[in-house]
């Protein structure tokens, strides 16, 4: 028997087809269409700029947040949305274009001041910043917020940078150890000063602080442990009205104690914000087009049916943006399973980039990749191609591939296994394209699909499993925690990043040159000098044929005409939720 997911997908395809036929028939669209902006205008500039107050801003999502506790979330869209009700020491700048990727002060007066040879970073809180009950935000609340991230059994969804970077070994978190004085990773000499104590210098500490919500202050008395996410205590422009109901939704209203004068990165325009969760993705698209929903929360783009509808109707197309989403869908080659670099080169040479490009949706789905770092990463250089061409028409070079195979000692090719996420049609198509392309040179690929839910942890994310199953390559994608080379490349190329389960270094790369650069770069304070090293690492990994660049993902986002202040945020890869308003 087919699973409900499969059968509903089949039915959705049927509906998509019928809608598509209707669209082709030229029937008038009953939706609200779009505003005056043109296609893709929101990718680089603010669309429908307005400071009009009032109205209800409606968000919808097909699933749910990992949590609404700012310290316990990792999804980019959740981090983006958390800025609506919560503030941290640092945050992304609310600006269109690449300026949005910059981490700027939020509750802090200025960027972190590095001291003691890079082993302390100090922030000073702004004057007059308050919680939703009017009480003052204090440095001790920031310390507590950081301390609670040390209990990974309770706050298990969020990043673990603080536990790795701060000099607080052995600390179990405030749930097990109620005495906050025992947490030595953060000092608060007065009510406005927060001093982070690092084990060793880390030059991108501002980014660690700013990309997620783990420094968002929380008074110890307001903490509800893992249930805190059901009703976070607001420090941002909106506060929760009642508890959030998982898989159903919630409502936020204005926080009258938030002060615009202290916060240039947010606006407080709508009267209410409503979130509806567990609404089918196709239904969200329909409601976006009709205007009854303003924002698709995950920000990953519309589904196939709506995509066709939007792209074939000029009026709708003008209300859509097609930005780079920050992801790079690449193909890691497992260096443990295929240790000979010449064999790996043969795979890269034989790869049909044109077929892969089409598999990921062609021009609307992405653009051919050269570097591993996508263009959204600060300081990234395009670089040069190694053993391939970033060209939508390039079908590979079988002759060069055979030369590499001969150099590898396998002139007749070899066999390996390729894995992909079985519930992602694009990845399945990509895997099939790889199989066809590599068979041209005698490399036999056995394909195996696994569910997304386990793929990144138990299959492709488990080095022991890939070694045992002799998995030579797979489909994968990565978006950075923050938009620098470190945020992007370190987890996927540093040997130190390899973990037994949920491993992101899926090439299982253990390259001494790369590792040395990672060790050195963290103490370099100049961002440009760091970016240079990141680009060298990027090049080295491709030179080692450990990763086949594929496509930088693009998503098709729809903005109803009643949505104000819409623009793509480079830090999140979707619209900036902190400044949105409604005009209708």
């Amino acid at each position: 028997m087919k699973s409900p997911k499969v059968v509903t997908s089949a039915a959705a395809a049927a509906v998509a087809l019928s809608l598509g036929l209707s669209a082709c028939g030229g029937s008038d669209d009953s939706g609200d269409g779009g505003g005056s902006a043109k296609f893709d205008a929101g990718s680089t500039a603010v669309v429908n700029a307005s400071d009009k107050k009032g109205g209800v801003l409606k968000y919808a999502q097909p699933d749910d947040f990992d949590s609404l506790d700012p310290a316990n979330m990792y999804y980019a869209y959740a981090l983006n949305f958390s800025r609506v009700y919560s503030r941290g020491l640092m945050t992304y700048a609310s600006k269109p274009g690449t300026a949005g990727a910059e981490i700027v002060p939020d509750l802090a007066e200025a960027k972190g001041v590095v001291g003691e040879g890079g082993k302390t970073v100090t922030y000073t809180l702004k004057q007059g910043v308050k919680y939703e009950d009017g009480s003052q935000i204090k440095a001790a609340d920031v310390k507590y917020a950081v301390a609670r991230t040390f209990d990974r059994g309770v706050l298990r969804n969020g990043p673990s940078y603080f536990t790795q970077l701060l000099d607080a070994d052995g600390y179990k978190g405030p749930f097990k150890d109620k005495n906050l004085d025992n947490f030595k990773g953060v000092d608060t000499p007065d009510e406005r000063t927060v001093v982070f104590k690092l084990k060793k210098p880390f030059s991108e500490f501002d980014q660690v602080v700013g990309f997620a919500g783990q420094t968002n202050p929380l008074p110890q008395a307001k903490d509800k442990g893992e249930r805190y996410g059901l009703h976070p205590f607001s420090s941002g422009p909106y506060k929760f009205e009642g508890d959030y109901q998982p898989k159903k939704g919630g409502v936020l209203v204005r926080n009258e104690h938030w002060d615009q004068a202290t916060d240039p990165n947010r606006k407080q325009l709508p009267d209410r914000i409503e979130i509806q969760s567990a609404l089918k993705a196709e239904e969200i698209d329909n409601r976006l087009i009709s205007g009854s929903v303003h924002v698709d929360l995950p920000g990953s783009g519309v589904q196939a049916a709506a995509r066709q509808q939007i792209l074939t109707q000029p009026k709708l197309k003008d209300s859509a943006d097609n930005p780079l989403a920050g992801f790079h869908w690449y193909l890691p080659i497992n260096t443990e399973v295929i240790p000979n670099v010449e064999c790996r080169k043969a795979i890269v040479w034989a790869t049909d980039r044109s077929a892969l490009f089409r598999a990921y949706g062609g021009e609307v789905g992405g653009e051919p990749a050269t570097s591993i770092q996508p263009p959204t990463v600060a300081g990234r250089e395009k670089g040069t191609d190694f053993y391939t061409k970033a060209d939508a028409n390039y079908t590979g070079d079988p002759a060069k591939a055979k030369e590499a195979l001969a150099a590898c000692g396998q002139p007749n090719g070899f066999s390996t296994k390729m894995v992909f996420r079985s519930d992602r049609p694009k990845e399945k198509l990509a895997a099939e394209a790889m199989k066809q392309a590599l068979e041209r040179v005698g490399i036999k690929i056995e394909l195996a699909g696994y569910p997304s839910g386990t793929y990144t942890n138990e299959q492709f994310g488990s080095p022991a499993w890939t070694k045992k199953e002799k998995v030579g390559l797979g489909t994968y994608g990565w978006a950075p925690d923050w938009s620098t080379g470190y945020g992007y490349l370190q987890p996927i190329t540093d040997q130190d990043a390899i973990v037994d389960t949920g491993n992101s270094n899926t090439s299982v790369l253990k390259d001494a040159e790369v590792n040395k650069k990672w060790d050195e770069v963290v103490s370099i304070q100049d961002p440009a000098a760091r970016a240079k090293i990141y680009n060298e690492i990027d090049q080295r990994v491709r030179e080692q044929a450990a990763i086949i660049p594929n496509v930088y993902a693009k998503s098709l986002l729809f903005r109803p005409s009643t949505l104000a202040n819409v623009y793509l945020h480079a830090g999140f890869g979707m619209y900036n939720y902190a400044t949105l308003g409604v005009t209708g």
Binding site: P4, V7, T8, A11, A14, V15, S18, L19, S22, S30, D66, M73, Y74, R148, D151, R152, G153, V154, R156, N157, G158, P159, S160, T163, Q164, F175, D223, K224, G225, E226, R227, Y228, G229, L230, Q245, P246, K247, K248, G249, A278, L279, K280, E283, N286, R287, S290, G453, T454, N457, E458, G461, S462, P491, A497, V499, D500, T501, G502, N503, S504
Partner: protein
């Protein structure tokens, strides 16, 4: 006692599916822990989760604790406070951080309203069409209605639902968006799910009724009733339909009980937050307590619905009452 035994067996099987089958397939407790962790979890995170969820405890011990919590209740530590989960405690979801029983109670109004509304429609439509078809056997009405019935059985809710949403709601805007979230909302926003679900079931019930009526209306006692000069309406409704209702009630008990436990496809198609959707989310997220809880509720409703049907047999059929 039979029902209790059945529930125990169902819970044990579900438990086994979640724990023993993955273990047999090589899934480790680290893998299970990673399903509850964020991106790239380090070893310390996995250890903390395993410790917190007791993933390394033997499965029989975990099962024993689960059964005990149903009978005696339990408490859950959120890190800062302790949450009471009184009996019948169906466990605690570490995904939503809520007791499963509370979640089911919260979702029940949606599922109940879907089931009740659809059942009324399908019983009215199905039985009426079945009776008319049987009485007009071979006529145009019979052929058309049975043709529609065949279409109804053949077109599942995920198809009719998506089509009707796309056209009736979004393109033609004949009905409002389906937005029912609980008793405080207008139940008539469920009209479309009711119609789609009833279309499926009415077809089945029409065919059942027609077959039963065709058989019953040829019985000797029907002929006797007509010979006594009873009005045709009395003959059909009181003597014919009443006898036909017994098998229909049996099927209805099962169908309605299952729906009360969650109209999974309908809820999914129309994005309605009912018990079925809760169970489905639980499956997708490996949220065992939710899946177990929903399974137990489905089983309970099926058992209860059949019990009620057994009682109603006596009302409908005097032979059962007298025996």
């Amino acid at each position: 006692m039979g029902a209790v035994g059945l529930l125990l067996i169902i819970s044990a099987v579900t438990f086994g599916i979640f724990f023993l089958v993955p273990k047999a397939a090589g899934v480790t407790s680290d893998d299970l822990a990673a399903r509850f962790a964020g991106k790239t979890p380090d070893a310390a995170t996995l250890e903390a989760i395993k410790d917190r969820f007791a993933l390394d405890e033997p499965v029989p011990v975990q099962y024993g604790k689960y059964i005990k919590s149903i009978v005696a209740g339990d408490t859950y530590d959120t890190g800062v406070e302790t949450i009471d989960c009184p009996a019948p405690c169906l466990g605690y979801s570490f995904r939503t951080n809520q007791p499963v029983f509370d979640e089911i109670v919260d979702r029940a109004p949606v599922t109940f309203m879907i089931a009740i509304g659809a059942a009324v429609l399908w019983l009215l439509a199905g039985i009426t069409i079945g009776v008319v078809s049987a009485l007009r056997r071979g006529s145009v009405i019979d052929r058309v209605s049975m043709g529609i019935a065949l279409a109804g059985v053949s077109l599942p809710v995920f198809f009719t639902g998506l089509l009707s949403l796309a056209f009736v709601v979004h393109r033609w805007q004949l009905l409002p968006e389906v937005n029912y979230r609980g008793f405080s909302d207008n139940p008539f926003s469920l009209l479309l799910p009711w119609i789609c679900l009833a279309f499926l079931y009415a077809a089945l019930y029409a065919r059942l009724t027609r077959a039963g009526m065709l058989e019953t209306m040829n019985e000797d006692y029907i002929r006797t009733a007509r010979a006594k000069g009873l009005p045709e309406r009395t003959v059909v409704v009181k003597h014919g339909l009443r006898a036909t209702l017994t098998p229909i009630m049996t099927v209805f008990g099962l169908d309605f009980g299952l729906l009360l436990g969650g109209a999974i496809i309908t809820e999914r198609t129309f994005s309605l937050p009912g018990i079925g959707q809760l169970a489905l989310d639980g499956i997708y997220q490996s949220d065992l307590p939710v899946v177990l809880g929903a399974t137990m509720v489905v089983a309970l409703f099926v058992v209860l619905a059949n019990l009620i049907v057994d009682i109603l047999y006596g009302v409908v059929d005097p032979r059962v009452r007298h025996s």
